[in-house]
Assembly symmetry: C2
Homo-oligomer: 367 residues x 2
């Protein structure tokens, strides 16, 4: 494995920070919030950390998994494009993809919509997307809150603003919660293709392409085969069926990872004392190259923010990789081995072809 040390930490003045998202500040804040949150835990809380994608609570002997997330600034892309009937799919995806990572079968979801103004057609379109996402994930939508907050919510033009989030719950046997604790040196990392940018890094993408690049939302690029707006708005892939098939069919399934806001740094959140060598990554889809070029975003930052073409990962024992791949391929999923695990107390994520090594929340260039 590459044992190179990072030669630079992520700049305080990174492009993402300039795009208005301060990930280091968010980590500091989380660190201060945690003791207060932890003080509310009892022995019914199955996962005594918040490092997992979802938590699990023992309710009457059944493991109830719960995860909450939103679509972030992808809402602004929907407004720019003027299309609202797909972003509900993203909202479902962000939650159910997190839920399956602890081994839970998603059951139901509630949504939370905060609005600048009430537009019945927009709200109906949001519901159409939520219902389509629910159909794809095999869950029911059992409630929601629509809050009119004209003094809190804003959008790309007056009146258009909205924020969309949700919470999903699911079921997992308490003795079958997927914690990743048995990940080991030699395990294999399988990557499942993303459908594009999914629902993370949209602030940086907008700054790079619309502001700095000066492109309109309707700009077409040959390499995309569609307009910028349609590319950025493409719904987040829902991996529930794939994850459940792997849980059922792969004996040595060690862990599942939803690749979200920290890119492949979602892999090293479990404190397992093993590092990742992702030496077989496929080429990143063209949208990421456009963002990198027109936003002058360093590669280290691209890999710290975006999924770079891999939306979900499964770590499996070395003898089960072929079986996992055949299950995924039978489901029509584009998937491949992207790397393997190596002993590393610092749990770094090595990208040798990109000459990057990631630790904590940032990748840095190796030399």
């Amino acid at each position: 494995m590459t044992s190179s040390e990072p030669t630079a930490t992520a700049s305080q003045d990174s492009a993402y920070r300039r795009s208005g998202v301060d990930t280091e500040g968010a980590d500091r804040a989380l660190h201060r919030m945690l003791p207060h949150v932890r003080a509310t835990w009892d022995d019914k809380v199955a996962l005594q950390t918040l490092n997992h994608f979802a938590n699990v609570v023992d309710i009457g002997g059944i493991g109830i998994a719960i995860a909450t997330d939103g679509v972030g600034s992808k809402a602004l892309v929907a407004q720019l494009v003027g299309r609202y009937d797909t972003i509900g799919i993203d909202c479902v995806a962000m939650n159910v993809n997190d839920l399956v990572c602890v081994g839970a079968r998603p059951v139901s979801m509630v949504d939370y919509i905060a609005l600048e103004c009430t537009d019945a057609a927009v709200l109906e379109a949001l519901a159409v997307g939520l219902a389509e996402g629910a159909r794809r994930a095999g869950i029911s939508l059992v409630g929601g809150e629509t809050a009119q907050l004209p003094d809190i919510i804003k959008g790309v033009r007056p009146g258009l603003g909205f924020d969309l989030a949700g919470t999903a719950i699911g079921q997992v046997a308490l003795d079958q919660v997927l914690t990743g604790a048995d990940i080991a040196d030699g395990d294999v990392v399988i990557g499942l293709a993303s459908s594009g940018i999914h629902s993370n890094g949209l602030s940086l993408a907008r700054r790079a392409l619309l502001d700095r690049g000066g492109f309109g939302i309707d700009q077409r690029f040959d390499e995309l085969g569609c307009s910028l707006g349609n590319e950025l708005l493409r719904p987040t892939e829902i991996y529930v069926g794939d994850a459940l098939a792997l849980i059922d069919g792969v004996a040595a399934l060690r862990s599942l990872f939803h690749i979200t806001g920290d890119g492949f740094l979602n892999l090293n959140r479990l404190g397992t004392g093993v590092g990742y060598v992702l030496d077989r990554l496929p080429a990143a889809p063209p949208i990421f190259g456009l963002i990198q070029t027109h936003g002058a975003v360093p590669a280290a930052e691209m890999y710290s923010v975006f999924n770079m073409g891999i939306g979900f990962c499964a770590v499996v024992g070395p003898d089960d990789a072929e079986r996992a791949l055949s299950i995924l391929k039978a489901r029509g999923r584009v998937a491949q081995v992207i790397g393997h695990m190596e002993a590393d107390a610092e749990e770094r994520v090595h990208l040798p072809a990109q000459r990057l090594v990631g630790q904590g929340k940032a990748f840095a260039a190796t030399e």
Copy 2:
């Protein structure tokens, strides 16, 4: 009972609508969203309407109740006062008070914080409030999402904006879900005192007192005994312990109601074919008189928006009213009989002393 007809429906140009909250538009939108949501339901969804305060899902034979809600524009009051360590209590309260209305014991909650900028001290204070609310409600905080959305969230001054919502889950035996279906003519309505404005109607309160009234947030009123800011910011009462004591101790407990954004019109949401006569309401606390006077808000609208001093209601059989009151008083809760049920296919809410009758989402004056 009074059988007077409403002589006027709520004006399209009501004070609340002028304050930026369009409740009729929201109802129209909800009507268009519902068919899409309903299409995702299966027989595991215990309550096949969204008219209850929470829904219940059958997960492995256990009833898991789920409710989602936020603190709305009370976040702006926290910013004006510059105090952030109590509004988390409101967030918990809004969710757990809804959850107990279906007979569920709250277990856990996740929070969703959308932020304009990350301020670790503010986020820690929000967590302090959430943890205190969780302690009062007897629940654990098992996860959350903090989203930096500088292009979506705004506040009273640049950089201060945040939105705070959450989702609570709880447990209820599937054969003991409180639906209110057995509410009957002659039942008694017990009201539990609110701590003030709680977390609804803050947009109208701010417009009435700060904008139209011209008062500062630090203005002191003798009748309040504190500043306007502290009065408006006082945390929402958490009724979980009271509700669970009533569920355990009152055989003829028919229904529980969290009095939120539609005031006493939260009572007539169950489709039970019975109306309410609230002829023994206590005097509304002074904050409501100040809002009404300085905002020139008609009484019909006050009662359609605010809790008017009653934050939670229990409907019990006539022979159980004394027992319910003694349970509540033993817990130190200010509670009293505020009215009774009468047969009324239109499920109106009559306030004879106020000469108001409510139907759907609005009260109107009777003559």
